[in-house]
């Protein structure tokens, strides 16, 4: 299951989707919105996705992970829209026969997702907002 959704993510449902009968190990990564960034309070985040391409890129990542580890099940769900601190932005769950494989595959998927999948977040502070990682360090990035 690959899902890009505006609705809150049901973590248990993602886990259930990834869990296979023959699996002994399930690893789950949950990304949540932090309440601070650059030492400032985060009011909320705006996530947006290029949805068709995001789904295609996640599928490529899953294909590569399935090639490298004996995955028995997997599920990836990413939220878009407005998210407040503590809300869940992403859930990756994989199941495998043994725990090491489940850890390695899950970490590979979230690392690759963050590096390659066309999804963007904007941090909104009291005094401005900023597209995360868009500009090099040192270039003024917060504007009103």
């Amino acid at each position: 299951m690959i899902k890009i959704t505006e609705k809150p993510i049901d973590v248990q449902k993602v886990i259930d989707t990834a869990t296979s009968l023959g699996a002994g190990a399930v690893n789950v990564f949950i990304g949540t919105v932090r309440n601070t960034a650059h030492g400032k309070n985060v009011l909320w985040l705006e996530y947006e996705a290029y949805e068709s391409m995001a789904v295609a890129e996640i599928r490529k990542i899953i294909d590569e992970a399935s090639h490298r580890w004996p995955l028995l099940g997997w599920a990836v769900s990413h939220r878009v829209g407005t998210l407040k601190p503590t809300e869940v932005s992403v859930v990756v769950a994989v199941s495998a026969p043994h725990r090491r494989e489940s850890f390695e595959a899950c970490q590979f998927i979230i690392d690759s997702l963050k590096a390659k999948v066309p999804i963007w977040k904007k941090e909104v502070f009291e005094d401005g907002e900023e597209w995360v990682s868009a500009r090099p360090e040192g270039v003024s990035a917060t504007y009103n």
């Binding site: 947006e48 295609a56 999804i119 904007k122």
Partner: protein, 82 residues
């Protein structure tokens, strides 16, 4: 002959281009690299980005790829999902 391309813009490029989708004119033989040059001269702020990829039909595309007016073209500034 010129061709008219519809360009989807996401994240910070949507702010820079001032819209979710803009139209640009390119020579009939225009490539991804040509589009990149035209964007840089029309919207110099894109030069300040850490990176800018261009996707054609949902795939990251190299600069030498020739664009067609039926292609789905999108600007991909540095991603920050997760």
């Amino acid at each position: 002959m010129m061709k008219t391309l519809k360009i989807k813009a996401f994240g910070i490029t949507r702010d820079i281009l001032g819209g979710r989708e803009v139209e640009l004119q390119l020579n009939e033989s225009g490539t991804v690299g040509d589009l990149r040059s035209q964007l840089s001269s029309t919207y110099p702020e894109v030069l300040q980005l850490k990176s800018l990829f261009i996707a054609v039909n949902n795939e990251y595309a190299d600069d030498h790829v020739v664009l067609n007016d039926t292609d789905e073209i999108a600007l991909i500034p540095p991603v920050s999902g997760g």
